[in-house]
Amino acid sequence: MDYFAQQLINGITLGSIYGLIAIGYTMVFGIIGMVNFAHGDVFMVSAFIALIALLILTSWLGIVSVALALFIVLVVAMLFTSLINWVIERVAYRPLRGSFRLAPLISAIGMSITLSNFVQVTQGPRNKSIPPLVQGEFILSNSNDFPVTLSYKQLIIWGITAILLLAFWYLVARTRLGRAQRACEQDQKMAALVGVDVDRTIAATFVIAAALAAVAGTMYLMYYGVVTFSDGFVPGVKAFTAAVLGGIGSLPGAVVGGLLIGLIETLWSAYFSIDYKDVAAFSVLAITLIFLPQGLLGRPDVEKV
């Protein structure tokens, strides 16, 4: 039981990271119906930006307060990743609206290859590891010689994810931009006719998606303390799985799906086989798409002529 509780805590932490990335997939899919294949690599790039910002702060500027450093790193990573994703949308996706159906996907695959290899070329192929930033943990229970712990960094991840989700929900549900996004999701042409700037709204969607991915990237770096250029691929596919599982296009679905995938992966590793944990996640993706393509919370997708 204690073992299970511990896995639950680990799973929710991992699931928070997946959920944050999954929102990016689901938002972009919702608004332009495109699987943003490069999103996982945007996440990886953000982890690298966070790494560099952290090194500048700690070793060059000598900031010792971890809380302050983490906050600045988070903001810097969000800003730069948003800018990069804005440029990507501008260069690689916007000109393809109205091209044939698979064109944006192929372009996104090209972008994904470009991003990971760009990082490989500029930062080198080796693992980048940093000393642990946040140490310490709460011991929740210590029966049967198995301590159930909740580390501070897990708590930070939960807290930041919760705060950001609230802020994000407010943005989509209550603001002018959120209204424009929902309008574009329903009917771009009609939205344009009633004065919504469709291009700007789509660009804003990419910026928000990147900002959330950057939060996930910073958390990932803090949690695991290691990042490499190929780290975007597998988390990206898993986050996409989360988005599909929750119902692609549905925002609460992305969060629920992220948590589920995090839990499935952790529990699978804990009880069955750690070697096949990625197989488990990929199988969930295939099974969901085949048997439940609309996901848990999504609308059924009707193909129109």
């Binding site: 699987v35 790039v45 690298f48 930006i49 790494l51 560099i52 910002a53 090194l55 500048i56 070793s59 060059w60 730069f80 800018l83 990069i84 440029v87 260069v91 690689a92 000109p95 393809l96 109205g98 091209s99 044939f100 159906r101 698979l102 064109a103 996907l105 192929i106 372009s107 695959i109 090209g110 972008m111 994904s112 290859i113 470009t114 991003l115 290899n117 760009f118 490989q120 070329v121 500029t122 080198g124 980048k128 590891s129 940093i130 691929f233 596919v237 996409f240 599909v244 070697d275 990625d278 197989v279 990929f282 199988s283 993706l285 295939a286 798409l289 085949i290 393509p293 997708d301 193909e303």
Partner: protein
Amino acid sequence: MARMRLAGANIRTELSEALRDAGLTALIAFGVFLPLVGFQTITDIRDVLILTSRWPLLFALVGSIAAARFIYVLALAPRLERGALRLPQRASATAANILRNWFIPFAVAFVVVYPLLVVIAVGFGGAVRWIDNFGIQILIYVMLGWGLNIVVGLAGLLDLGYVAFYAVGAYSYALLAKTFGLSFWILLPLAGTLASFWGILLGFPVLRLRGDYLAIVTLAFGEIIRLILINWVPVTNGYAGIGSIPRPTFFGIPFNADDNGFAAVFGLEFSPLYRVMFLYYVILALALVTCFFNVRLRRLPIGRAWEALREDEIACRSLGINTTNTKLTAFAMGAMFAGFAGSFFAARQGFISPESFTFLESATILSIVVLGGMGSQIGVAIAAVVMIGGTEIMRQLGFLKQIFGPTFDPTQYRMLIFGLAMVAIMRWRPRGLIATRAPSVFFKKRRDISVDLVAEGRG
């Protein structure tokens, strides 16, 4: 950025406009490249991550981007708007005929005599490298590209896990040849059959999905197969891979230095060149068979159904085509050729490991098909020659190391270039560089008709 220009617009405003545009571009490029190009993380001797800055590189990059933008806005964009520099959108009928009538026979003749030419040019010793690295390596990718072309180019199904079938073919050959001692020529069709069986098995549940979902699920399947190859150690030997795989023989005569070897039987002096040449002709024959199938299949009802499916799935279904079966045959056919190529790959290398079957490999094959023009045979072949041959040439370019320092590895840039090229192709010539996506079967007159062409304004 398109701007309306009045006749006789003042050159000075144009100049300042271009300057402002270039300045803005420089600012954005600076922001984009500041973290990753401006700084480098290096692990030092004590295994601690340290940071160094690279300001000269960053400013050179930003400067050249701004300069390119300046020239584009000032000089190229107005001319492009007037249509002066527009690339010819369609090769004219005579050009196409010349291509078909002269280039293709010439190309085929060239690849047939290529090994002999190499031997004449560089002699017996140096020829192995040229035939192996360039000839065989390129032809494997040409064959894979043509195989994937059936799935992506003809049937319009984006398959991101194509390398899985390549792996199935390679492992089928390796395992069966080592366990049962069967010969290459028996296992070649068997490996193809097994791969196409896997294609059906994986395709059956997923082919009802829409295009982009299908792509992701094939990606997932490709990864699952690779992970199984890594983790199923008793059978596949995991990361370590399978070594000493039996090499193909010349109708039972092995290529070795023994008394019953190829050289001894034909009274020649032993040289590894004979095996390489033999392998070259095997893969050439396999590739040509793939091409022949590809061309002939298009004219069969099934090929027409594939092309119709690519253009409009709903219309197909309403005309009574069983879309699932049609997609399944394309999938299985593509997988079969990947299986052939895979078993050849295993026989040629003598060693296989899951490293050879990563997503990157799928992406390479896909980019060959995309860049060559989905559906075009000759385009795919040229793309494979340029991309794979280009990589090999980059590997040979020693002088670049002298310019950029000893740590410079030009092959690192290979995938970066592939990725950028994929984006660029989708943006400017979505039908490929040498695209022919004209219907194979036509009524009275061959005309380009398809949904995406209508969108491009040519319908």
